[in-house]
Symmetry: C2
Subunit: 201 residues, 2 copies
DNA sequence: CAGAAAACGGAGGCATTTTCCATTTCTCTT
DNA sequence: AAGAGAAATGGAAAATGCCTCCGTTTTCTG
């Protein structure tokens, strides 16, 4: 149920290795934040004062580095999921969770892409956390289907994937109109409204 | 109203230039189809039997080449929009159009990304066709809002962006469950269903 | 057919990822 | 406290891909 992949605690790294690892991670977070997830790994290595080889030994792939850089945000996301659990109204709880998820996906520019990739690639360092996210989504969805108004034909996977899709669009469109709220609205209610009696015809 | 950017007809290209341009384009379509929009431009040039310089002279950027490679599909898309226009039911017409749009966006793997980029970048070679697509979407949406059941709070832009988001997800998830139909369903109806009386509470 | 203009192509500059290994640094034992 | 061996380092280099530049070749025109 935990989202952590590697706790910092007791690890048998040599002192210099640990120092370098931490340094790289800290710099990576800064670079991902300012240049998006595509930030140059060479730049990160240089800024951290280590050789490229060192970076790669600690984080064999961009995704591995990304996964490590996301741990704090993931912890925050988990905290928000706990808060959302406490919301009495099931629909509101689901909505709160989806909003938290959107915020998380905004941590770094371009994050939705590797997260989506991780959904299907078991091997990805982000995969574990992805499964957790889908599973949490599933919990909120199930509750909203039972107690609230969530459509019963929707699955947690679809919900999660849709959230990714929206996050991806918003990631790249930004201030294009009043888009964020609007898109989340389409997401929630669809573009068709079959509820009241047809306005015409 | 046309989607064409450069008609093949009378162009004052020298014979060898036209030959090369056509050749490059033909090969590019094949490569984009098999390797996605990220296909190596060097490979395309080599396969077309021309130097990299020649490719770049004819198509200054990947997007320009992509735009040219998409012309046939765009023509097909326009044709489908005409067909959809003929559908009596406004909702069904909108749905048919959105489906055609999805198919178009599946032409090459990864297409949604440059299309989304083109939505905001006036300069992009894909921008013109993008505007056309949004405008067509707008027509179908307006009709479905008047005659059918499309929610009046939704705009064509939001609809188009949502379609891009879905296409992007499906592009990378492919056979992940029964996803396609399901996602389009969430898109159409949302994940909440407020229509009938609340099932509980 | 010859000269001018147009087009060609591929070498080379640049950026980036990733590997490899000779050297350096740490740690643990004695 | 010293030194052997394991661990970690860093940066050179290979691989890939984008894109430009310019000496050479092809086409067109009169």
């Amino acid at each position: 149920m935990t989202i952590d992949i590697l706790n910092e605690e007791r690890s048998n790294l040599r002192a210099d290795a640990r120092r370098n690892r931490d340094r790289i991670l800290q710099i990576a977070i800064q670079h991902f934040a300012s240049h998006g997830i595509g930030a140059s790994l060479e730049d990160i290595a240089r800024a951290a004062g280590v050789g490229a080889g060192t970076l790669y030994r600690h984080f064999p792939s961009r995704e591995a580095l990304l996964a490590a850089a996301l741990q704090d945000q993931q912890a925050q996301l988990l905290a928000r999921s706990k808060q959302a659990c406490a919301i009495a109204n099931a629909d509101a709880a689901l909505q709160a969770w989806l909003e938290a998820l959107q915020d998380y996906l905004r941590t770094f520019n371009g994050l939705p892409a590797p997260v989506l990739a991780a959904v299907k690639e078991r091997a990805s360092p982000l995969a574990l956390s992805c499964e957790t996210l889908v599973s949490i989504t599933s919990d909120f969805l199930a509750r909203a289907q039972n107690e609230g108004h969530a459509r019963t034909s929707v699955t947690a996977n679809e919900l999660f994937l849709s959230a990714l899709g929206i996050a991806w669009v918003l990631d790249r469109i930004d201030a294009y109109g009043t888009t964020r709220q609007a898109l989340e609205d389409v997401f929630a209610h669809g573009y068709l409204d079959l509820s009241p009696k047809p306005p015409k015809q």
